[in-house]
């Protein structure tokens, strides 16, 4: 797991804060940028940001980070798999796709990331790609009209690339 301990780690956050002018109205942007570095929001980062910005506190930043589904408090995998479970994808069979992925990638109870840190899996509400239902997005790339078999081939390919 990536940890935020050394002063140089905080320097990176300082740069982001400076870029965003230490403004509390820019908090979401700041959190997105920090998450882009660490693939999640380390607790130390939340505390640091809460203490650095006037009018915010660690507890309020924590509140924002836990409110939005886009923020993760645990590290995400190298490959972030998002299975769309909006209405259209759901009726077109997104759940069997998700089941297939979960069977292929066993994870500890309550966790969304594989223990090797390679994959994380989550459902999202609607990607706006209903004509391609059921849709899966892996690291920003959209895979249309997924079936359980098709998604397993994609995962196998990604696994091979990382051997």
């Amino acid at each position: 797991m990536l940890e935020l301990k050394t002063p140089s780690d905080f320097e990176k956050i300082d740069e982001i804060l400076k870029e965003c002018e230490y403004k509390k109205t820019n908090l979401i942007t700041i959190l997105q940028k920090v998450q882009a570095i660490y693939r999640y929001l380390p607790q130390e980062a939340i505390e640091y940001i809460g203490n650095k910005i006037d009018g915010l506190s660690p507890a309020t930043v924590w509140g924002v980070a836990t409110f939005y589904a886009q923020f993760s408090l645990e590290p995400k995998g190298k490959y972030e798999i998002k299975v769309c479970d909006g209405t259209a994808c759901h009726v077109r069979g997104s759940m069997p796709v998700l089941e297939a992925i979960k069977n292929k990638l066993p994870m500890e109870k309550g966790k969304m990331t594989t223990s090797d840190g390679l994959f994380s899996v989550e459902t999202v509400s609607c990607l706006g790609a209903c004509s391609l239902a059921p849709a899966v997005v892996i690291n920003g790339k959209v895979y249309p009209k997924m079936t359980p078999d098709a998604v397993l081939i994609i995962i196998d390919t990604l696994m091979k690339e990382n051997e």
């Binding site: 660690p58 924590w62 509140g63």
Partner: protein
């Protein structure tokens, strides 16, 4: 026709006098509307919906966020409104730990009160299961957090950030998972909480309560080997009576002495005496610093929440804090030292000090490494009232009694310590005398008085021997932070900064009966103190005969070796876990 704007509430024509919400117009017209989240000193939140009313032509709306308009017709108690309020109560209670008998807010809980008033006898939802209950956080020495009783009104979240600018508490997650907690659910003792207790003061339920130490006090009283000595803080006298049907601001100190004696405390002293003593030491320190031009401005140090705030947030500026202990901190060791000289059977070891404070942070102060074994138990005003009731004492029928000597007398300067501005005013009276040998021509320093929302930062300039001395008085740590930043940036033009963390000062402390529903209560309590100040034979701390005697017989003079040993302290950022 006048240009007065009026509206109708329950068919009564009422004037709109600049109120921002219908709820306030109704309140000022003597019509109470039930609410959990509306707190006049905090921003409007509109979360609980308990204050719904019916507007003719518009239907049901929350009155706490509805601006009043001329000609508006509002009904506060229609059948429809009543049914909605009942449903709201049922829904709030559906996910509420309803163990009222063992709840420390019992009898003072607004949820309990409204449930009774609205006749809620049956909740049509499944009761919270034992295994669903969240762990109670009792890590703090001052405050207990039981989130099984939270109704998400957000008052504590607003109090912590709007009064203190700290924001220890925040909402976490969302929807049905929403809950209030310190960052990442840490225990209160591990975050930057300063123990002011304002969160508990504004909490309508038992979610945030004050740690109950009454049992510890009873244990001391019932212990035959212990001599109990009690001290009572200035602002307790103008608030405790409210719990027994007296008006806010009614000074019941003589009854309090009598009640304390009836409860079984062996000796009764008044913290007002040591407030006088604090002023002697602090005014001396102020005059010294003014003369030398060192460590100015001087920051007062009687508010333990403020001291803690400085230690956490501005450890580089601790040199500005007065080295004087608070009045509680001064009186306890002094009593342990001096009482054995005056009373038989008392030794330094067998004396245990219990203090009655308007304050939750005093519980924390007593546990500070630097002040260990001085004050043994700290009780809040509310806890003390509970002891009076438990002992079956009929408070309003009590005959007044006197405190014990040698610390029985106090000056008006000591009494006004309880209101924001009072410490600075008393210090100014004595500092003026120390610097000039004469008394301040007008003892009432009016610009430093006032405890309402607009008076959270006030200033006065006084001419001392041709030298202009400027004093800044702030209440709430949010205002204190502004002042500290001015000092840091070199922009500060004042020489003395008085800080009280609670809005309006100790009269509105976290340990007082809550004053969060009515802004006037603060004024009335402060007025009670200023009235006592006006009527006391001695108004200057340096003229209190007991103070003069204690210096003559024991302490010699302010800042002597003896007074440094007993009355002064040091500051440091001590990790909280070492204190508990």
């Amino acid at each position: 026709m006048t240009d007065k704007e009026t509206m109708f509430i329950d068919n009564i024509e009422v004037e709109i006098k600049g109120e921002k919400t219908v709820l306030e117009v109704a309140k000022n017209a003597g019509i109470e509307i039930p609410t959990f989240c509306y707190r006049p000193d905090l921003t409007q939140f509109g979360a609980c919906r308990m204050c719904v009313v019916e507007q003719e032509g518009r239907g049901i709306q929350a009155s706490c966020t509805m601006p009043p308009k001329a000609g508006m017709k509002i009904f506060t108690n229609t059948k429809k409104v009543r049914n909605i309020r009942k449903t709201i109560l049922e829904l709030l209670l559906a996910h509420h730990d309803r163990e009222c008998t063992t709840c420390s807010k019992s009898g003072m809980c607004e949820l309990q009160k409204y449930s009774f008033e609205y006749g809620i006898t049956d909740i049509p939802y499944v009761k919270m299961k034992e295994e669903e209950k969240l762990k109670v956080d009792s890590s703090s020495v001052s405050i207990v957090r039981d989130m099984n009783k939270c109704i998400l009104c957000g008052a504590c979240v607003r109090a912590c950030s709007e009064f203190q600018g700290i924001g220890v508490l925040g909402f976490s997650e969302r929807g049905s998972h929403t809950h209030v907690q310190p960052m990442a659910g840490k225990p209160l003792k591990d975050v930057d909480c300063v123990n002011c207790g304002q969160c508990a003061s504004v909490c309508p339920t038992g979610a945030l309560t004050i740690k109950d130490d009454t049992e510890k006090a009873f244990d001391l009283i019932y212990d035959p080997n212990v001599k109990t000595v009690v001290q009572i803080a200035p602002s307790v006298r103008v608030a405790l009576g409210e719990m027994f049907g007296l008006k806010a601001g009614d000074n019941s100190i003589k009854k309090i002495y009598a009640a304390a004696r009836k409860i079984g405390f062996d000796l009764i002293f008044d913290t007002n005496f040591s407030a006088d003593l604090t002023i002697m030491e602090e005014a001396n320190e102020f005059v010294e610093r003014l003369t030398k031009g060192e460590n100015l401005p001087l920051f007062t140090s009687c508010c333990p929440a403020w001291v803690r705030y400085m230690e956490i947030n501005h450890p580089d500026m601790l040199n500005h804090l007065s080295s004087c202990k608070s009045p509680q901190g001064m009186l306890s060791p002094l009593m342990k030292e001096l009482v054995p000289q005056y009373y038989e059977g008392y030794t330094k070891e067998n004396i245990k000090v219990v203090s009655i404070m308007p304050c939750t942070a005093k519980k924390f102060e007593a546990k500070r490494e630097q002040l260990k074994n001085e004050t043994d138990v700290v009780l809040t005003t509310v806890e003390f009232a509970k002891m009076i009731r438990a002992k079956g004492i009929n408070f309003d029928k009590l005959e007044g009694e006197e405190a014990n000597s040698p610390f029985g007398q106090y000056s008006g300067g000591g009494t006004i310590f309880g209101a924001s501005g009072g410490v600075a005013e008393a210090a100014l009276r004595t500092a003026y005398n120390m610097a000039t040998g004469e008394n301040l021509p007008n003892l009432d320093v009016m610009p430093l008085r006032g405890v309402d929302g607009a008076s959270r930062s006030k200033e006065a300039t006084v001419d001392i021997k041709g030298k202009q001395v400027k004093i800044r008085v702030v209440s709430t740590l949010k205002e204190a932070e502004i002042a500290v930043r001015e000092v840091k940036s070199g922009k500060a033009d004042f020489q003395l900064l008085e800080v009280m963390a609670c809005p309006g000062g100790c009269i509105n402390g976290g340990g007082q009966p809550t004053a969060c529903h009515d802004v006037n209560i603060k004024n009335e309590r402060a007025q009670g103190l200023y009235t006592e100040d006006k009527n006391l034979p001695v108004r200057n701390c340096h003229e209190n005969p007991d103070i003069i005697r204690v210096y003559k017989e024991f302490l010699e003079k302010p800042a002597s070796k003896k007074s440094h040993e007993l009355l002064h302290t040091t500051y440091s950022k001590v990790p909280l876990k070492e204190l508990v």
